[in-house]
Structure formats: C-alpha cells, structure tokens
C-alpha cells in the first residue's frame, strides 16, 4: 500500500521571532496544507523556535540550477561601486 506517496512533500519556513524573516527549517509530508501547517508546528517548533510558519508544496518551488551559477551570480561580483566601502570619504566626515 502507498505510504506517504499520496502525502506530498512540503517545505517549512519558520519565523523565529518577530522582526526576522521566515527561514527554511526543513520539510515534511502532509496530505494537505492545514495538516502540513500543524505538522510543521509540532515538528519544527517543539522548543519554542517559532512565532510564524509557512508551508509550501515542494513542487511549487522553482530553484536556480547550479549549472546556471556563473551566468546568474558571477556578473554581480564585479560591481564594487554597489558597496559603501567603494567610496573614499575624508576623515572626520560624520553621518555618512
């Protein structure tokens, strides 16, 4: 008989406290969104790790491929003018 075959995989994102973003905590199986949320609560916040949870069907996530790593991420590495440290400011100038 099928086990979790018909229970899809869900990715769980937990906000650990107010003011922080949800971060990926792991995954689990559940038959539907409501139980996925409850299973996530039971599994990933047993020790008070969260104040908010998202669950997303794993199949709904589109991820960048490692093969595309270079075209995706390398072009941004050579634009130092996007970073504040690129600019020289005279000593003693404040609030900049």
């Amino acid at each position: 008989m099928s086990d979790t075959k018909d229970w899809p995989l869900w990715e769980v994102f937990v906000r650990s406290r107010r003011g922080l973003s949800h971060t990926h905590a792991g995954s689990l199986h559940a038959p539907d969104a409501e139980l996925a949320l409850r299973n996530a609560r039971d599994l990933y916040t047993r020790r008070g790790e969260g104040v908010s949870i998202w669950v997303v069907p794993s199949t709904s996530i589109t991820a960048s491929s490692p093969d595309e790593k270079d075209p995706f991420f390398e072009p941004s590495a050579d634009k130092p003018y996007r970073h504040p440290t690129f600019y020289e400011i005279p000593e003693g100038v404040k609030h900049l």
Binding site: L28, H29, P31, E34, L35, R38, N39, D42, L43, R46
Partner: protein
C-alpha cells in the same frame, strides 16, 4: 492558583497527602488532574505505534501538555507521585472516557474530540472566572485549543476520507458516546460532598456548557459526514461513574502497569 478560603467540606476521600488547597478546590483539581494524567498515559501508549511519523510527534505533544497539566493540578492536592502511583483504582476521579483503551486511531481521535472539546470549554470558563484555578486554566486553555483543533482536523479527514475510514470513525464515535454524559456532572458529585453548595471550588454552568459541547461536536461530525450517535450518554449504573471512583475494567490493568515499578520500591526516589 494557590489556596483560596472556601468553606471546608468532607474533603477528598483517599487522598494520602496533606492538601495544599482547600478540600473543595482539591476535589476539582484532583478530578481534572486525573483526567489529564490518565489521558496522557493512554496517548503515551501510542509511542512507536502511530500511523505516520508526523503523528508520533503530534500525539506526544498532546500527551506532554496533558502530563504537565496533571502535575500542576495534582500538586495542588498533594504530592504528585504519591497521588499518581499510590492510590488505588477506586480513589481516581477521572471520567471514564479518558481511561478507554486506545483502540484504533479512529477511537483515539473520537476520544480526543469528545474530551478536548469538553476540556477547552471548561478551561475557557475557568480562565474567565476569578477562582483558584484561573491561572492554570489560562495557560492550559491555549494547549487544549490546539488539542481540540487536532481532533477536529482528524475527525473530518477520517469521517470524510475513504469508506473504510468513515466506518471506523463512525463506530468509534458511537462506541464512546455513552461516556460523554459524565463530563457534565458537577465535579463534586460524590454523595458526601454534593450536599454543600458551591464546594467544587469552581463556578461553571454545567448545562450551558453541555449545550455548547453538543453544538460544537455536532457541527464537527456534520462536516465529517458522520452521524451524531443516538444512544444514551451515560451508563445505567446508578452508583455513578469515574467521578465517583467507579471505573471500567481496563483501567485497573492500566494502573497496574503504571504503578508497578514505583510500588515495587517503597520509599525510593527516582
């Protein structure tokens, strides 16, 4: 949730320790504490047997919440371990519903639905009142709301799942129905204490609460495409039920297992 001055009553029979709360509140704390203790034990029996791993974690969470409640409540009455491990069966005051064996998952869910709905309604009322159990109830009501939700979610899925799950869930709801009436008897319902007005230490309109319970459970069963059971809601034994220390046969075996190690080493600390 410490001692409140209320009129003394004849107290709780067979309570070995010196009550830390007045006898009336002690009787209520004992009854509610035993409910939580016994149901926690039954849920603990699921460990390693649950239908899916996610549910192992969920059932254990509920069992742990209940055990925590039991420890607070029993500590209002006396020493938690003496109360749990050294009382005889006839001195336990839990309702018979919670001592019913786990059966299949449908029976466990039906038991959870009936009991957690009751417990949620009761703790809501206690949390809103100004009494000795208010503090405890305010914390427990959040836990119990989750237990109730868990039971409702599963009742709906099993009732409105496959033909097999529907039949199992209906059988479970029917089988446990006759243990549901007892929950709405005033808690100090023993012959020696119910003569004194207000001695339960809590102020609850039981008939009103029972009506809420019935409405809520009916709505859930409807959503689950299940029929509300039709049989009687209490046993025909006029001597009473769990709140009077009269239990069902499986309870004695449950206690034998629970107490044997503790009783085998009198006076030992663990």
């Amino acid at each position: 949730m410490t001692a409140h001055a209320t009129s003394p009553t004849s107290g709780t029979p067979a309570t070995p320790a010196t009550p830390a709360a007045p006898p009336s509140v002690a009787a209520t704390a004992l009854a509610l504490g035993d409910d939580a203790l016994v149901l926690s034990h039954r849920l603990g029996e699921w460990a390693g047997h649950a239908p899916v791993l996610e549910e192992e974690v969920a059932l254990a969470n509920i069992a742990l919440d209940l055990l925590g409640q039991a420890r607070v409540l029993l500590s209002l009455v006396g020493d938690e371990d003496e109360l749990a491990y050294l009382r005889e069966e006839r001195a336990f005051r839990n309702v018979q519903l919670v001592e019913q064996p786990n059966g299949d998952f449908a029976h466990t869910i039906a038991r959870q639905l009936y009991f957690s709905t009751y417990q949620h309604l009761l703790y809501e009322r206690l949390a809103a009142s100004d009494g000795p159990l208010t503090g405890l109830a305010a914390k427990a009501v959040k836990e119990v709301a989750y237990h109730r939700d868990h039971a409702e979610q599963w009742t709906v899925r099993l009732g409105d799942g496959t033909p097999e799950s529907h039949d199992r869930m209906q059988r479970a709801c029917d089988a446990l129905w006759r243990h549901t009436g007892e929950m709405f008897q005033p808690i100090n319902g023993t012959a020696d204490t119910d003569s004194t007005d207000g001695t339960s230490g809590i102020d609850v309109d039981w008939p009103e609460m029972e009506a809420s319970w019935t409405a809520s459970v009916t709505a859930v069963l409807d959503r689950a495409t299940l029929k509300v059971p039709e049989g009687p809601r209490t046993g025909a034994w006029s001597a009473g039920a769990g709140r009077q220390g009269l239990h069902t046969e499986p309870f004695g075996r449950m206690l034998a297992e629970m107490q044997h190690l503790h009783r085998s080493h009198p006076g030992a600390t663990w």
